[in-house]
Amino acid sequence: MTKQTVIEKIFQNHSKEEIKAGNIVWITLDVVSARDFGGPNVVKNYMKAYKDAAVFDAKKVFFTFDLTVPPKTIQYANNQQICREFAREQGISVYDVDQGIGTHIFMESGHALPGTIVVGTDSHMNILGAVNCFGQGMGDVDITFGYRFGRTWFEVPHTVKVELTGKTGYEYSAKDLTLQILSVLKTDKLLGKAVEFYGEPVEKLDLAGRITLLSMITEMGGIVGFIPFNENTPKEIMALNKMDSITPEIKADADAGYAEVIKIDISNMGPMVSEPPYPHNVKKISEIGNVKVDFGFIGSCTNGRLEDIEIAWKILKGKKIAPGVRLAVVPSTRKVYEEAMDRGMLQDLLKAGAIISNPGCGGCAQGHIGMTGKGEVMVSTGNRNFPGKQGDGKNYLVSPEVVAYSVLNGYISFEPKEN
Protein backbone atom coordinates (compact mmCIF):
# COMPACT_ATOMS: atom_id res chain seq x y z
CA MET A 1 0.00 0.00 0.00
CA THR A 2 1.37 3.38 -0.95
CA LYS A 3 2.04 5.72 1.94
CA GLN A 4 -0.53 8.48 2.09
CA THR A 5 -0.95 12.03 3.34
CA VAL A 6 -3.97 13.11 5.42
CA ILE A 7 -6.01 14.31 2.44
CA GLU A 8 -5.18 11.16 0.46
CA LYS A 9 -6.38 8.99 3.34
CA ILE A 10 -9.61 10.93 3.76
CA PHE A 11 -10.23 10.60 0.01
CA GLN A 12 -9.39 6.88 0.17
CA ASN A 13 -12.11 6.41 2.78
CA HIS A 14 -14.57 8.09 0.42
CA SER A 15 -13.64 6.49 -2.89
CA LYS A 16 -13.26 3.13 -4.62
CA GLU A 17 -10.60 4.49 -6.93
CA GLU A 18 -6.86 4.63 -6.47
CA ILE A 19 -6.03 7.79 -4.56
CA LYS A 20 -2.84 9.36 -5.77
CA ALA A 21 -1.99 13.03 -5.97
CA GLY A 22 -2.88 14.35 -9.42
CA ASN A 23 -5.51 11.67 -10.19
CA ILE A 24 -9.06 12.76 -10.86
CA VAL A 25 -11.36 10.58 -8.76
CA TRP A 26 -14.96 10.42 -7.61
CA ILE A 27 -15.54 10.85 -3.88
CA THR A 28 -18.65 10.60 -1.70
CA LEU A 29 -19.69 13.57 0.42
CA ASP A 30 -20.82 13.47 4.06
CA VAL A 31 -22.43 16.92 4.16
CA VAL A 32 -23.46 19.18 1.27
CA SER A 33 -24.56 22.72 2.12
CA ALA A 34 -25.36 26.07 0.57
CA ARG A 35 -25.55 29.55 2.06
CA ASP A 36 -27.84 32.45 1.35
CA PHE A 37 -25.23 33.43 -1.28
CA GLY A 38 -25.20 30.56 -3.73
CA GLY A 39 -28.21 28.83 -2.16
CA PRO A 40 -30.89 30.38 -4.40
CA ASN A 41 -28.70 29.69 -7.42
CA VAL A 42 -28.44 26.06 -6.30
CA VAL A 43 -32.25 25.84 -6.04
CA LYS A 44 -32.62 27.38 -9.49
CA ASN A 45 -30.07 24.97 -11.01
CA TYR A 46 -31.64 22.04 -9.19
CA MET A 47 -35.19 22.71 -10.37
CA LYS A 48 -33.96 23.08 -13.94
CA ALA A 49 -31.77 19.99 -14.00
CA TYR A 50 -33.53 17.57 -11.65
CA LYS A 51 -37.08 18.98 -11.24
CA ASP A 52 -38.71 17.38 -8.19
CA ALA A 53 -36.24 14.51 -7.74
CA ALA A 54 -35.21 14.06 -4.09
CA VAL A 55 -31.81 15.14 -2.80
CA PHE A 56 -29.41 12.24 -2.15
CA ASP A 57 -30.00 12.25 1.61
CA ALA A 58 -32.09 14.98 3.28
CA LYS A 59 -30.19 14.44 6.56
CA LYS A 60 -26.88 15.29 4.91
CA VAL A 61 -28.04 18.35 2.98
CA PHE A 62 -28.30 21.81 4.60
CA PHE A 63 -28.81 25.48 4.06
CA THR A 64 -26.87 27.84 6.32
CA PHE A 65 -27.89 31.50 6.16
CA ASP A 66 -24.97 33.49 7.46
CA LEU A 67 -24.18 36.29 5.03
CA THR A 68 -27.07 38.71 4.90
CA VAL A 69 -28.60 38.00 8.27
CA PRO A 70 -31.27 39.13 8.74
CA PRO A 71 -31.74 40.11 5.07
CA LYS A 72 -31.15 43.81 4.49
CA THR A 73 -32.92 44.02 1.14
CA ILE A 74 -36.03 42.49 -0.38
CA GLN A 75 -33.86 40.64 -2.91
CA TYR A 76 -31.92 38.86 -0.16
CA ALA A 77 -35.15 38.13 1.71
CA ASN A 78 -36.63 36.60 -1.44
CA ASN A 79 -33.48 34.55 -2.03
CA GLN A 80 -33.59 33.12 1.50
CA GLN A 81 -37.26 32.33 1.15
CA ILE A 82 -36.59 30.45 -2.12
CA CYS A 83 -34.19 28.24 -0.14
CA ARG A 84 -36.61 27.76 2.78
CA GLU A 85 -39.41 26.64 0.46
CA PHE A 86 -37.12 24.19 -1.33
CA ALA A 87 -35.94 22.93 2.06
CA ARG A 88 -39.50 22.31 3.22
CA GLU A 89 -40.38 20.39 0.08
CA GLN A 90 -37.22 18.29 0.34
CA GLY A 91 -37.17 17.86 4.13
CA ILE A 92 -33.79 19.59 4.40
CA SER A 93 -32.70 21.40 7.58
CA VAL A 94 -32.03 25.13 7.53
CA TYR A 95 -29.70 26.91 9.93
CA ASP A 96 -31.54 30.18 9.60
CA VAL A 97 -30.51 33.84 9.88
CA ASP A 98 -30.35 33.72 13.68
CA GLN A 99 -27.76 30.93 13.96
CA GLY A 100 -24.39 32.24 12.76
CA ILE A 101 -21.60 31.14 10.44
CA GLY A 102 -22.32 27.80 8.77
CA THR A 103 -18.83 26.33 9.03
CA HIS A 104 -18.73 27.10 12.75
CA ILE A 105 -22.19 25.60 13.26
CA PHE A 106 -20.99 22.41 11.54
CA MET A 107 -18.19 22.20 14.13
CA GLU A 108 -20.69 22.66 16.98
CA SER A 109 -23.42 20.30 15.79
CA GLY A 110 -21.72 16.99 15.10
CA HIS A 111 -21.68 17.42 11.31
CA ALA A 112 -17.97 18.10 10.79
CA LEU A 113 -15.95 15.38 12.51
CA PRO A 114 -12.50 13.85 11.98
CA GLY A 115 -12.16 12.10 8.63
CA THR A 116 -15.37 13.46 7.10
CA ILE A 117 -15.91 15.48 3.91
CA VAL A 118 -18.11 18.57 4.13
CA VAL A 119 -18.70 20.93 1.20
CA GLY A 120 -20.59 24.20 0.84
CA THR A 121 -20.76 27.53 -0.97
CA ASP A 122 -18.20 29.09 1.37
CA SER A 123 -14.59 29.50 0.28
CA HIS A 124 -13.51 29.25 3.92
CA MET A 125 -15.05 25.78 4.28
CA ASN A 126 -11.47 24.55 4.72
CA ILE A 127 -11.64 25.89 8.28
CA LEU A 128 -12.98 22.42 9.03
CA GLY A 129 -9.43 21.12 8.69
CA ALA A 130 -9.19 22.25 12.34
CA VAL A 131 -11.30 19.22 13.29
CA ASN A 132 -9.51 16.97 10.77
CA CYS A 133 -12.39 17.24 8.31
CA PHE A 134 -11.92 17.96 4.60
CA GLY A 135 -13.99 21.10 4.07
CA GLN A 136 -14.21 22.44 0.54
CA GLY A 137 -15.83 25.57 -0.82
CA MET A 138 -17.67 25.12 -4.09
CA GLY A 139 -19.75 27.12 -6.53
CA ASP A 140 -23.43 26.61 -7.10
CA VAL A 141 -23.16 24.15 -10.00
CA ASP A 142 -20.89 21.89 -7.96
CA ILE A 143 -23.20 22.05 -4.96
CA THR A 144 -26.30 21.38 -7.08
CA PHE A 145 -24.73 18.13 -8.26
CA GLY A 146 -23.73 17.31 -4.67
CA TYR A 147 -27.26 17.92 -3.39
CA ARG A 148 -28.63 15.44 -5.92
CA PHE A 149 -25.98 12.71 -5.88
CA GLY A 150 -23.86 13.15 -2.73
CA ARG A 151 -20.65 12.78 -4.68
CA THR A 152 -18.30 14.80 -6.84
CA TRP A 153 -15.14 14.57 -8.93
CA PHE A 154 -11.93 15.89 -7.46
CA GLU A 155 -8.35 16.14 -8.55
CA VAL A 156 -6.45 14.67 -5.60
CA PRO A 157 -4.31 17.58 -4.44
CA HIS A 158 -0.60 17.28 -3.83
CA THR A 159 0.38 17.92 -0.21
CA VAL A 160 3.00 20.35 1.06
CA LYS A 161 4.56 19.71 4.47
CA VAL A 162 5.33 22.82 6.51
CA GLU A 163 7.55 22.42 9.56
CA LEU A 164 7.56 25.21 12.11
CA THR A 165 10.28 25.82 14.65
CA GLY A 166 11.50 28.56 16.95
CA LYS A 167 10.40 30.58 19.95
CA THR A 168 9.41 34.22 20.14
CA GLY A 169 10.07 36.74 22.89
CA TYR A 170 6.38 37.49 23.36
CA GLU A 171 3.09 35.63 23.69
CA TYR A 172 2.04 35.52 20.05
CA SER A 173 -1.47 35.02 18.76
CA ALA A 174 -2.64 32.43 16.25
CA LYS A 175 -3.24 35.34 13.86
CA ASP A 176 0.39 36.49 14.13
CA LEU A 177 1.48 32.94 13.34
CA THR A 178 -1.00 32.75 10.46
CA LEU A 179 0.21 36.02 8.93
CA GLN A 180 3.82 34.98 9.41
CA ILE A 181 3.13 31.74 7.52
CA LEU A 182 1.20 33.66 4.85
CA SER A 183 4.15 36.01 4.41
CA VAL A 184 6.35 33.02 3.57
CA LEU A 185 3.92 30.90 1.54
CA LYS A 186 2.18 33.86 -0.15
CA THR A 187 -0.38 32.80 -2.77
CA ASP A 188 1.73 30.52 -4.93
CA LYS A 189 3.39 27.87 -2.73
CA LEU A 190 0.11 26.18 -1.85
CA LEU A 191 -1.92 27.01 -4.96
CA GLY A 192 -4.24 24.06 -5.54
CA LYS A 193 -2.49 22.00 -2.86
CA ALA A 194 -3.24 20.59 0.59
CA VAL A 195 -0.89 21.39 3.47
CA GLU A 196 0.09 19.68 6.71
CA PHE A 197 1.64 21.74 9.49
CA TYR A 198 3.98 20.23 12.06
CA GLY A 199 6.05 21.55 14.96
CA GLU A 200 5.46 22.93 18.42
CA PRO A 201 4.37 26.46 17.38
CA VAL A 202 1.31 25.08 15.55
CA GLU A 203 0.67 21.83 17.41
CA LYS A 204 0.21 23.70 20.68
CA LEU A 205 -2.64 25.83 19.24
CA ASP A 206 -6.09 25.40 20.76
CA LEU A 207 -9.05 24.74 18.48
CA ALA A 208 -9.83 28.45 18.04
CA GLY A 209 -6.21 29.09 17.02
CA ARG A 210 -6.31 26.18 14.57
CA ILE A 211 -9.45 27.65 13.03
CA THR A 212 -7.66 30.99 12.59
CA LEU A 213 -4.69 29.47 10.80
CA LEU A 214 -6.59 26.97 8.68
CA SER A 215 -9.22 29.49 7.58
CA MET A 216 -6.53 31.46 5.83
CA ILE A 217 -5.32 28.54 3.73
CA THR A 218 -7.78 30.06 1.26
CA GLU A 219 -5.78 33.31 1.19
CA MET A 220 -2.65 31.18 0.60
CA GLY A 221 -4.39 29.69 -2.46
CA GLY A 222 -4.47 26.23 -0.84
CA ILE A 223 -7.21 23.60 -0.74
CA VAL A 224 -7.14 22.58 2.92
CA GLY A 225 -4.72 22.35 5.86
CA PHE A 226 -4.29 19.96 8.74
CA ILE A 227 -2.46 20.10 12.08
CA PRO A 228 -1.94 16.93 14.16
CA PHE A 229 -4.22 16.95 17.22
CA ASN A 230 -2.62 17.71 20.57
CA GLU A 231 -3.96 15.93 23.64
CA ASN A 232 -6.63 18.59 24.18
CA THR A 233 -7.97 18.84 20.63
CA PRO A 234 -10.31 15.79 20.79
CA LYS A 235 -11.64 17.01 24.15
CA GLU A 236 -12.31 20.46 22.69
CA ILE A 237 -14.15 18.95 19.72
CA MET A 238 -16.22 16.67 21.99
CA ALA A 239 -17.09 19.53 24.33
CA LEU A 240 -18.15 21.76 21.44
CA ASN A 241 -20.40 19.05 20.01
CA LYS A 242 -21.57 17.72 23.38
CA MET A 243 -20.37 14.24 22.40
CA ASP A 244 -18.71 11.58 24.56
CA SER A 245 -16.54 10.21 21.80
CA ILE A 246 -15.49 11.09 18.26
CA THR A 247 -14.02 9.21 15.32
CA PRO A 248 -10.23 9.01 15.47
CA GLU A 249 -8.04 11.57 13.75
CA ILE A 250 -6.73 10.68 10.29
CA LYS A 251 -2.93 10.91 10.39
CA ALA A 252 -0.44 10.92 7.55
CA ASP A 253 1.81 7.88 7.08
CA ALA A 254 5.31 8.48 8.37
CA ASP A 255 6.88 8.44 4.92
CA ALA A 256 4.02 9.81 2.87
CA GLY A 257 4.96 11.58 -0.36
CA TYR A 258 4.99 15.37 -0.15
CA ALA A 259 5.26 17.75 -3.08
CA GLU A 260 7.55 19.97 -1.03
CA VAL A 261 8.79 20.39 2.53
CA ILE A 262 9.03 23.99 3.74
CA LYS A 263 10.62 25.02 7.02
CA ILE A 264 9.55 28.21 8.75
CA ASP A 265 11.39 29.63 11.76
CA ILE A 266 9.19 31.94 13.82
CA SER A 267 11.93 33.27 16.14
CA ASN A 268 11.95 36.63 14.44
CA MET A 269 8.16 37.07 14.46
CA GLY A 270 6.48 40.05 16.10
CA PRO A 271 2.89 41.23 16.24
CA MET A 272 1.87 41.14 12.58
CA VAL A 273 -0.37 43.12 10.28
CA SER A 274 -1.51 42.51 6.75
CA GLU A 275 -1.48 45.85 4.97
CA PRO A 276 -4.01 46.51 2.24
CA PRO A 277 -4.55 45.72 -0.56
CA TYR A 278 -3.59 42.02 -0.22
CA PRO A 279 -3.70 39.54 2.68
CA HIS A 280 -0.15 38.37 1.89
CA ASN A 281 1.13 41.94 2.18
CA VAL A 282 2.37 41.12 5.70
CA LYS A 283 4.55 43.30 7.92
CA LYS A 284 5.40 43.62 11.57
CA ILE A 285 3.44 46.31 13.33
CA SER A 286 6.75 47.88 14.30
CA GLU A 287 7.44 48.43 10.58
CA ILE A 288 4.33 50.38 9.57
CA GLY A 289 4.73 53.57 11.60
CA ASN A 290 1.85 55.43 13.18
CA VAL A 291 -1.41 54.43 11.49
CA LYS A 292 -4.50 56.15 12.86
CA VAL A 293 -7.54 53.90 13.27
CA ASP A 294 -11.19 54.78 12.70
CA PHE A 295 -12.92 51.44 12.97
CA GLY A 296 -12.17 48.08 14.57
CA PHE A 297 -13.81 44.75 13.84
CA ILE A 298 -13.59 41.56 15.91
CA GLY A 299 -15.27 38.53 14.40
CA SER A 300 -15.41 36.50 11.14
CA CYS A 301 -14.88 32.79 10.54
CA THR A 302 -11.18 33.46 11.17
CA ASN A 303 -11.43 35.13 14.60
CA GLY A 304 -15.04 34.96 15.78
CA ARG A 305 -14.73 32.26 18.46
CA LEU A 306 -15.38 32.82 22.16
CA GLU A 307 -11.60 32.71 22.78
CA ASP A 308 -11.11 35.61 20.36
CA ILE A 309 -13.81 37.72 21.99
CA GLU A 310 -12.38 36.86 25.41
CA ILE A 311 -8.96 38.20 24.42
CA ALA A 312 -10.46 41.55 23.40
CA TRP A 313 -12.67 41.59 26.50
CA LYS A 314 -9.72 41.17 28.85
CA ILE A 315 -8.01 44.15 27.24
CA LEU A 316 -11.07 46.42 26.97
CA LYS A 317 -12.96 45.55 30.17
CA GLY A 318 -13.51 48.67 32.30
CA LYS A 319 -11.96 50.98 29.68
CA LYS A 320 -13.25 53.21 26.89
CA ILE A 321 -12.16 53.06 23.28
CA ALA A 322 -10.52 56.21 21.93
CA PRO A 323 -12.81 59.13 21.06
CA GLY A 324 -14.00 59.09 17.47
CA VAL A 325 -13.12 55.40 17.03
CA ARG A 326 -15.78 52.72 16.51
CA LEU A 327 -15.59 49.02 17.31
CA ALA A 328 -17.87 46.19 16.16
CA VAL A 329 -17.94 42.72 17.69
CA VAL A 330 -19.63 39.88 15.79
CA PRO A 331 -19.70 36.45 17.48
CA SER A 332 -19.43 33.59 14.98
CA THR A 333 -22.44 31.63 16.23
CA ARG A 334 -25.42 31.88 18.52
CA LYS A 335 -23.66 29.50 20.93
CA VAL A 336 -20.61 31.80 21.08
CA TYR A 337 -22.92 34.80 21.52
CA GLU A 338 -24.75 33.18 24.43
CA GLU A 339 -21.54 32.11 26.18
CA ALA A 340 -19.98 35.55 25.75
CA MET A 341 -23.16 37.06 27.16
CA ASP A 342 -23.37 34.63 30.09
CA ARG A 343 -19.79 35.48 31.03
CA GLY A 344 -20.46 39.21 30.92
CA MET A 345 -18.11 39.83 28.00
CA LEU A 346 -20.64 41.45 25.69
CA GLN A 347 -21.89 43.78 28.41
CA ASP A 348 -18.34 44.95 29.20
CA LEU A 349 -17.49 45.36 25.52
CA LEU A 350 -20.65 47.38 24.97
CA LYS A 351 -19.73 49.66 27.89
CA ALA A 352 -16.24 50.04 26.43
CA GLY A 353 -17.91 51.48 23.34
CA ALA A 354 -18.48 48.48 21.06
CA ILE A 355 -21.37 47.76 18.71
CA ILE A 356 -22.44 44.16 19.39
CA SER A 357 -23.94 42.50 16.33
CA ASN A 358 -25.93 39.32 15.90
CA PRO A 359 -23.86 36.25 14.90
CA GLY A 360 -22.90 35.72 11.27
CA CYS A 361 -20.52 36.90 8.57
CA GLY A 362 -20.98 40.61 9.33
CA GLY A 363 -17.70 42.46 9.00
CA CYS A 364 -16.77 40.54 5.85
CA ALA A 365 -20.03 40.19 3.97
CA GLN A 366 -21.11 43.43 2.37
CA GLY A 367 -23.29 45.77 4.37
CA HIS A 368 -23.72 44.32 7.82
CA ILE A 369 -22.01 46.31 10.59
CA GLY A 370 -21.26 48.86 7.91
CA MET A 371 -18.60 49.68 5.34
CA THR A 372 -15.68 52.13 5.38
CA GLY A 373 -15.64 55.45 3.57
CA LYS A 374 -12.76 56.94 1.57
CA GLY A 375 -9.78 57.67 3.81
CA GLU A 376 -11.08 55.60 6.70
CA VAL A 377 -8.85 52.98 8.32
CA MET A 378 -10.26 49.69 9.55
CA VAL A 379 -8.42 47.15 11.70
CA SER A 380 -10.07 43.79 11.21
CA THR A 381 -9.67 40.25 12.48
CA GLY A 382 -11.06 39.05 9.14
CA ASN A 383 -9.18 37.33 6.38
CA ARG A 384 -9.40 39.55 3.30
CA ASN A 385 -8.47 43.17 2.64
CA PHE A 386 -8.82 43.37 -1.13
CA PRO A 387 -9.60 46.81 -2.53
CA GLY A 388 -13.26 47.70 -2.16
CA LYS A 389 -14.12 44.60 -0.17
CA GLN A 390 -15.12 46.48 2.99
CA GLY A 391 -15.71 49.83 1.36
CA ASP A 392 -13.48 52.59 0.03
CA GLY A 393 -11.31 52.72 3.17
CA LYS A 394 -8.15 50.78 3.99
CA ASN A 395 -8.49 47.48 5.78
CA TYR A 396 -5.63 46.09 7.91
CA LEU A 397 -5.85 42.44 9.01
CA VAL A 398 -4.65 41.78 12.55
CA SER A 399 -5.26 39.66 15.66
CA PRO A 400 -8.03 40.36 18.21
CA GLU A 401 -5.34 41.67 20.60
CA VAL A 402 -4.19 44.23 18.07
CA VAL A 403 -7.75 45.35 17.29
CA ALA A 404 -8.38 45.83 21.02
CA TYR A 405 -5.19 47.83 21.66
CA SER A 406 -5.66 49.81 18.45
CA VAL A 407 -9.18 50.99 19.27
CA LEU A 408 -8.01 51.89 22.78
CA ASN A 409 -5.00 53.86 21.58
CA GLY A 410 -6.50 55.22 18.36
CA TYR A 411 -3.66 53.89 16.18
CA ILE A 412 -2.49 50.41 15.17
CA SER A 413 -0.68 49.10 18.21
CA PHE A 414 0.15 46.19 20.46
CA GLU A 415 1.28 45.98 24.07
CA PRO A 416 3.25 42.82 24.75
CA LYS A 417 3.08 40.73 27.88
CA GLU A 418 6.31 39.04 28.98
CA ASN A 419 6.44 35.46 27.70
Binding site: I24, F37, G38, P40, N41, K44, N45, K48, A49, Y50, L67, T68, T73, Q75, Y76, N79, T121, D122, S123, M125, G137, M138, G139, D140, V141, D142, T144, F145, W153, T187, D188, L191, G192, T218, E219, G221, G222, I223, Y278, A365, Q366, G367, R384, F386, P387, G388, K389
Partner: protein
Protein backbone atom coordinates in the same frame (compact mmCIF):
# COMPACT_ATOMS: atom_id res chain seq x y z
CA UNK B 1 -21.20 19.79 -31.92
CA UNK B 2 -19.23 21.85 -29.41
CA UNK B 3 -16.71 24.39 -30.61
CA UNK B 4 -13.09 23.75 -29.71
CA UNK B 5 -11.52 26.59 -31.63
CA UNK B 6 -12.17 30.27 -31.08
CA UNK B 7 -10.98 33.43 -32.77
CA UNK B 8 -11.41 36.80 -31.18
CA UNK B 9 -9.89 39.85 -29.53
CA UNK B 10 -7.65 39.13 -26.55
CA UNK B 11 -7.96 41.34 -23.48
CA UNK B 12 -4.72 41.24 -21.52
CA UNK B 13 -5.68 42.08 -17.94
CA UNK B 14 -2.66 44.19 -17.03
CA UNK B 15 -1.99 46.72 -14.30
CA UNK B 16 -2.70 50.31 -15.31
CA UNK B 17 -0.44 51.34 -18.16
CA UNK B 18 2.05 48.51 -17.70
CA UNK B 19 2.72 45.19 -19.34
CA UNK B 20 2.25 43.31 -16.08
CA UNK B 21 -0.67 40.90 -15.86
CA UNK B 22 -2.46 41.59 -12.56
CA UNK B 23 -1.79 38.68 -10.17
CA UNK B 24 -4.31 37.34 -7.61
CA UNK B 25 -7.40 38.95 -9.11
CA UNK B 26 -9.95 38.12 -6.42
CA UNK B 27 -13.60 37.26 -7.03
CA UNK B 28 -14.56 40.51 -5.25
CA UNK B 29 -12.69 42.34 -7.98
CA UNK B 30 -14.31 40.26 -10.71
CA UNK B 31 -17.87 40.30 -9.34
CA UNK B 32 -18.27 42.24 -6.10
CA UNK B 33 -20.24 40.74 -3.23
CA UNK B 34 -22.62 43.71 -3.41
CA UNK B 35 -24.28 41.96 -6.38
CA UNK B 36 -24.49 38.44 -5.02
CA UNK B 37 -28.27 38.57 -4.81
CA UNK B 38 -28.32 38.25 -8.61
CA UNK B 39 -29.23 34.77 -9.82
CA UNK B 40 -30.16 35.69 -13.40
CA UNK B 41 -27.12 35.26 -15.62
CA UNK B 42 -28.25 37.93 -18.10
CA UNK B 43 -27.95 40.55 -15.38
CA UNK B 44 -24.41 39.57 -14.32
CA UNK B 45 -22.34 40.80 -17.26
CA UNK B 46 -22.60 44.52 -16.45
CA UNK B 47 -20.71 44.05 -13.15
CA UNK B 48 -17.72 42.17 -14.55
CA UNK B 49 -14.44 43.67 -13.22
CA UNK B 50 -16.30 46.68 -11.84
CA UNK B 51 -14.08 46.57 -8.74
CA UNK B 52 -10.76 46.01 -10.58
CA UNK B 53 -8.70 49.19 -10.87
CA UNK B 54 -8.22 50.16 -14.52
CA UNK B 55 -10.84 47.69 -15.79
CA UNK B 56 -14.05 49.07 -14.36
CA UNK B 57 -15.47 49.79 -17.83
CA UNK B 58 -14.65 46.32 -19.15
CA UNK B 59 -18.28 45.28 -19.44
CA UNK B 60 -19.01 48.22 -21.72
CA UNK B 61 -16.09 47.49 -24.01
CA UNK B 62 -16.26 43.70 -24.14
CA UNK B 63 -17.93 42.09 -27.14
CA UNK B 64 -19.23 38.59 -27.69
CA UNK B 65 -16.40 36.38 -28.92
CA UNK B 66 -13.70 38.09 -26.87
CA UNK B 67 -10.98 36.16 -25.06
CA UNK B 68 -9.47 37.09 -21.69
CA UNK B 69 -5.80 36.60 -20.78
CA UNK B 70 -5.05 36.98 -17.06
CA UNK B 71 -2.28 36.55 -14.50
CA UNK B 72 -1.59 34.04 -11.76
CA UNK B 73 -4.19 32.84 -9.23
CA UNK B 74 -7.00 34.38 -11.27
CA UNK B 75 -10.33 34.08 -9.43
CA UNK B 76 -8.77 33.73 -5.99
CA UNK B 77 -11.10 34.04 -3.05
CA UNK B 78 -14.76 33.23 -2.78
CA UNK B 79 -16.75 30.35 -4.23
CA UNK B 80 -19.22 32.54 -6.13
CA UNK B 81 -20.23 31.08 -9.48
CA UNK B 82 -21.16 34.58 -10.65
CA UNK B 83 -17.45 35.35 -11.10
CA UNK B 84 -17.46 32.80 -13.93
CA UNK B 85 -21.00 33.40 -15.17
CA UNK B 86 -20.46 37.16 -15.63
CA UNK B 87 -17.96 36.41 -18.43
CA UNK B 88 -20.36 34.00 -20.05
CA UNK B 89 -23.04 36.71 -19.88
CA UNK B 90 -20.75 39.07 -21.82
CA UNK B 91 -20.12 36.41 -24.46
CA UNK B 92 -16.46 35.92 -23.51
CA UNK B 93 -15.47 32.57 -25.03
CA UNK B 94 -12.47 31.48 -23.01
CA UNK B 95 -10.28 32.67 -20.14
CA UNK B 96 -6.59 31.93 -20.29
CA UNK B 97 -4.47 32.53 -17.18
CA UNK B 98 -1.08 31.74 -15.67
CA UNK B 99 -3.02 29.85 -12.97
CA UNK B 100 -6.48 29.88 -11.44
CA UNK B 101 -7.84 29.92 -7.91
CA UNK B 102 -8.76 26.32 -7.04
CA UNK B 103 -12.49 26.90 -6.55
CA UNK B 104 -12.71 29.19 -9.57
CA UNK B 105 -11.15 26.48 -11.71
CA UNK B 106 -13.78 23.95 -10.60
CA UNK B 107 -16.60 26.44 -11.09
CA UNK B 108 -15.54 27.14 -14.65
CA UNK B 109 -15.05 23.48 -15.52
CA UNK B 110 -18.32 22.39 -13.89
CA UNK B 111 -20.35 24.99 -15.71
CA UNK B 112 -18.74 24.05 -19.02
CA UNK B 113 -16.92 27.37 -19.43
CA UNK B 114 -13.55 26.96 -21.18
CA UNK B 115 -10.46 27.96 -19.20
CA UNK B 116 -6.88 27.10 -20.03
CA UNK B 117 -3.52 27.49 -18.30
CA UNK B 118 -0.84 29.57 -20.03
CA UNK B 119 2.23 29.34 -17.84
CA UNK B 120 4.28 31.77 -19.91
CA UNK B 121 1.57 34.41 -20.16
CA UNK B 122 3.34 36.95 -17.93
CA UNK B 123 6.53 36.81 -19.95
CA UNK B 124 4.77 36.88 -23.31
CA UNK B 125 2.55 39.82 -22.41
CA UNK B 126 5.42 41.75 -20.77
CA UNK B 127 7.48 41.12 -23.92
CA UNK B 128 4.64 42.44 -26.12
CA UNK B 129 4.30 39.07 -27.86
CA UNK B 130 0.60 39.42 -27.15
CA UNK B 131 -0.84 42.90 -26.83
CA UNK B 132 -4.20 44.07 -25.63
CA UNK B 133 -6.88 43.55 -28.28
CA UNK B 134 -4.67 41.55 -30.62
CA UNK B 135 -6.66 39.08 -32.69
CA UNK B 136 -5.91 35.57 -31.46
CA UNK B 137 -6.95 31.98 -32.09
CA UNK B 138 -7.31 29.42 -29.30
CA UNK B 139 -7.50 25.64 -29.67
CA UNK B 140 -8.88 24.01 -26.52
CA UNK B 141 -7.90 20.43 -27.38
CA UNK B 142 -4.46 21.10 -28.80
CA UNK B 143 -3.73 23.66 -26.10
CA UNK B 144 -2.57 26.34 -28.48
CA UNK B 145 -2.82 30.11 -28.67
CA UNK B 146 -1.91 31.84 -31.94
CA UNK B 147 -1.45 35.57 -32.23
CA UNK B 148 -3.04 36.16 -35.62
CA UNK B 149 -1.35 39.55 -35.95
CA UNK B 150 2.14 38.05 -35.85
CA UNK B 151 1.50 34.37 -36.59
CA UNK B 152 3.39 33.37 -33.44
CA UNK B 153 1.96 30.42 -31.50
CA UNK B 154 2.14 29.59 -27.79
CA UNK B 155 1.60 26.36 -25.84
CA UNK B 156 -1.26 26.11 -23.33
CA UNK B 157 -2.23 23.19 -21.09
CA UNK B 158 -4.96 21.49 -23.13
CA UNK B 159 -8.36 20.42 -21.81
CA UNK B 160 -8.25 17.57 -19.29
CA UNK B 161 -10.56 14.58 -19.79
CA UNK B 162 -13.06 15.64 -17.12
CA UNK B 163 -13.03 19.16 -18.53
CA UNK B 164 -13.81 17.84 -22.01
CA UNK B 165 -16.53 15.47 -20.76
CA UNK B 166 -18.32 18.26 -18.88
CA UNK B 167 -17.84 20.74 -21.73
CA UNK B 168 -19.41 18.23 -24.13
CA UNK B 169 -22.43 17.93 -21.82
CA UNK B 170 -22.60 21.74 -21.32
CA UNK B 171 -22.60 21.37 -17.51
CA UNK B 172 -21.80 18.90 -14.75
CA UNK B 173 -25.55 18.77 -14.14
CA UNK B 174 -26.11 16.91 -17.42
CA UNK B 175 -23.65 14.16 -16.49
Amino acid sequence: MKEYEFQGRAWTITENGTGTLVPDVDTDQIFHNAYLHITDIDKMGQYTFDNLEGWKDFSKKAEPGDIVIAGSNFGAGSSRQQAVDCFRALGVKVIIAVSFGAIYKRNAINSGFPILIFEDAEKMVAGNKIQNLNKVKVDLLKGELVNLETGESFGLTPFSKVQKDIYESDTLLNI
